[in-house]
Amino acid sequence: MNFKAVKKSALQTLNSLKRSILILISVLLLVSFMISAIPKEFYSKIFTGNNLIDSLIGAIIGSISAGNPINSYIVGGELLSQGIGLIAVTAFILTWVTVGIVQLPAESLMLGKKFAIYRNILSFITAIVVSILTVLILQLF
């Protein structure tokens, strides 16, 4: 193995680490803050019963929420059991993982502002479309 290549790639990796470590710590602190600030019960209190409006609400809440996707399944499951529509719950769990308002500053810094903004807007719209399609297809079976 070429020692020069190993040294070069180690230095490149170290530079990437140096560039991103502060951003990663900041995002982790922000995510932790959001997880602690928004209690699980909060979610079930703000849905209206209208499928379309609820999907929009679900998508908005999912976008501003952060954390492990497993939490979104747990909250989504709880919402379903409380009578919230499947379209709204799907939009919620989809935006939880595909849209990241909390991570937006980090994504902008690392991947470019325009890319981050357009990707998040598109993912938000797609989440609503995909959630409607999922439930429609599910009803066919």
Binding site: T13, A37, Y73, L80, S123
Partner: protein, 169 residues
């Protein structure tokens, strides 16, 4: 002062803002910040192994991938093959989305298309280890339909982002 703000990098500014949020809430509501900080330590503990894998992958990529060749190949072969690769990498990647930003930024510097990065990020939502949990709550048909639609949506998203960003250049 203005010069100092200008000279300060975006990452430092972000960290200062987050530190200020913690400081303000720490004064207003100390238990909430203690809880947030404990969550931070707990998440960090889980995230460190993933971060090590990410940086190991970066090290391997840097060592074996010739940046120029890699860029050229992706430029010429941008198409179904690369979309499938981005989908698979997105699905198989582990850990929170933000852990992957450094690697993606590196790939972008190597000339990887925005569409492929967008496809990768979208498919991070399809998590194989979490599927049993999802099936438990929503059922198998729902999970299959949703996963398939998400993969299709990821490609559409990627193509649209490429179009938008190319048009704006």
């Amino acid at each position: 002062m203005k010069d100092l703000i200008k000279k300060t990098s975006g990452s430092v500014k972000l960290f200062i803002i987050v530190a200020l949020i913690y400081l303000i809430f720490g004064i207003l509501n100390p238990p909430a910040i203690t809880k947030a900080f404990n969550t931070f330590l707990k998440i960090s503990w889980g995230v460190i192994p993933v971060l090590l894998i990410v940086f190991f992958l970066m090290f391997i990529t840097n060592m074996f991938v010739n940046a120029k060749k890699f860029t050229k190949e992706l430029e010429h072969k941008a198409g179904i093959k690369n979309y499938i690769l981005a989908i698979l990498l997105g699905i198989l990647s582990a850990g929170p989305i933000y852990m992957w930003y450094p690697l993606l930024a590196d790939m972008k510097e190597h000339g990887v298309h925005d569409s492929l990065i967008a496809i990768f990020l979208y498919n991070r939502a399809v998590k194989i280890p979490l599927l049993p949990m999802m099936i438990y709550y929503f059922g198998t048909p729902y999970v299959i339909i949703l996963s398939c639609l998400m993969i299709v949506a990821s490609v559409i998203n990627g193509l649209i982002i490429d179009k938008i960003l190319i048009t704006q250049k």
